[in-house]
């Protein structure tokens, strides 16, 4: 049913929120900060694309005899 929804949208949103929090930590190294930024950026790109391309499939379950 949701074969192509490999990206769990909600999980993506949750992780994004987490990243925004983590990245504000002053004790991170530059390398760690950059990695988080990249991950966050990637999530936004992928989820945005999914929204953009999405088209609700509408199925009419008929004939309930």
């Amino acid at each position: 049913m949701s074969e192509n929804k490999n990206l769990d949208f909600k999980k993506g949103i949750d992780r994004l929120e987490e990243i925004v929090n983590l990245i504000s930590n002053k004790t991170l190294t530059l390398d760690e900060s950059l990695k988080l930024y990249e991950e966050g950026h990637k999530i936004i790109e992928e989820l945005s694309k999914e929204l953009e391309l999405a088209e609700s499939k509408i199925e009419n379950i008929v004939a309930i005899k």
Partner: protein
């Protein structure tokens, strides 16, 4: 005897009958129960029908100004109770009812049964807040049980697509009013349970006077309460609620409202992305700026240290220089001593190394003396 009694016209008689009928208090504003037959609603807004029981029938009219206040749509076959007065139509010699109010029979009964069922199911805990589940606003699949045509399904689908096009929509069509409705709704509902849905919307459109009774059916209400997935009900409107509304995990007063409860608005998500990107960028910028600062102050520290180090070494050097100076042989000259050298520039430090007539150079403070040795005396 027959020939001497007065002769009236038909109109006289009919008028007289009308007068009698309309002056009789007992025939004013009385409640009458009967079944509607030959019902016709005219474009003028007036209702013309007959009211009957098993043995008799009487014509009736309900004028448009009273029809407007009527809260239900009557039809032939309906059992009703009316508030009416007797009237007569002289030209036809007929009498009829002028109806002011009309009410379905059993309204009171229906209400009573509703309250009874509501109490019973509430006592079983079916309506408890604690049973209500949170709706996942990022659904992969939403089921919709409603009439297959009409504004309700259209509104729901349009709004889900607009807000969260990722969600797939599964429509389980059913009648939503009439005798067959409860059974069909239940069938549709049970069918929906077989699907892997995040949320199930059950609802209908329509105005305030629509018949919502199908959504008070006990079996349907129980099914809603025991649904495998959360249910959003969009049945009752602002004023009235059905038992399905109470049993559902969430309720909306319109189909559009149900779609809104079931999904996140993509514009919110897009805004969130925008702000998240900004936040992350700012964090990163801050980090770089902090590091630049750190680097800068380290550089300063290093410079300071180097300067101090060099200063120290300079001082050290100076003090060695001073000490060296102090030990310099040239200093000895200040004290009155002199250095004597032979003609080759070698220092004469032993009396044995000089003899009479040698040419010697003597360095004293201020200059040199060049002389010849007259005599050598050993000590």
């Amino acid at each position: 005897m027959f020939e001497t009694s007065p002769v009236f016209t038909v109109s006289d008689v009919n008028t007289f009958i009308k007068a009698i009928l309309t002056s009789e208090e007992k025939l004013k504003f009385i409640r009458i129960r009967g079944e509607i037959s030959n019902f016709k609603a005219y474009p003028s807004g007036h209702f013309y029908f007959s009211l009957k029981d098993d043995n008799s029938i009487i014509s009736a009219v309900m004028f448009s100004n009273y029809v407007k206040k009527c809260t239900f749509s009557p039809k032939t076959g309906d059992e009703v109770v009316v508030l009416a007065s007797i009237d007569a139509y002289v030209p036809r010699g007929s009498y009829n009812l002028t109806v002011f109010e009309m009410e379905e029979v059993g309204q009171g009964q229906i209400l009573l049964e509703f309250e009874k069922l509501k109490k019973k199911l509430a006592a079983e805990g079916l309506f408890d807040e604690s049973r209500k589940r949170k709706i996942n606003i990022f659904p992969k699949a939403i089921g919709v049980i409603t009439a297959p045509n009409g504004a309700a399904i259209r509104d729901i689908v349009t709004n889900i697509k607009r807000r969260y096009p990722i969600a797939d929509i599964y429509v389980f069509p059913s009648l939503v009013q009439g005798e067959q409705a409860p059974a069909e709704l239940l069938k549709a509902f049970n069918k929906a349970q077989e699907y892997d849905l995040d949320t199930l919307i059950i609802g209908r459109g329509g105005g305030a006077s629509e018949d919502l009774s199908a959504f008070n059916d006990e079996n349907l209400v129980r099914a809603v309460a025991n649904s495998k997935m959360p249910v959003i009900a969009a049945v009752g409107h602002e004023i009235d609620s059905t038992l399905v509304d109470f049993a559902a995990d969430a309720r909306a007063s319109t189909p559009t409202g149900a779609a809104e409860l079931a999904t996140v608005d993509r514009r919110e998500i897009e805004q969130k992305f925008h702000y998240s990107l900004e936040d992350m960028s700012n964090s990163l910028k801050e980090k770089v700026s902090d590091m630049k600062e750190d680097l800068s102050s380290l550089k300063e520290d290093l410079n300071e240290y180097m300067n101090d180090f060099i200063k120290d070494k300079k001082n050290e050097l100076k003090s060695y220089h001073d000490r060296l100076e102090a030990l310099s042989p040239m200093k000895v000259l200040d004290r009155g001593f002199s250095i004597t050298m032979d003609k080759d520039g070698n220092v004469i430090s032993d009396i044995k190394n000089v003899k009479k007539s040698d040419s010697v150079t003597t360095i004293i403070k201020g200059g040199t003396i060049i002389s010849t040795v007259d005599k050598v005396e050993e000590r």
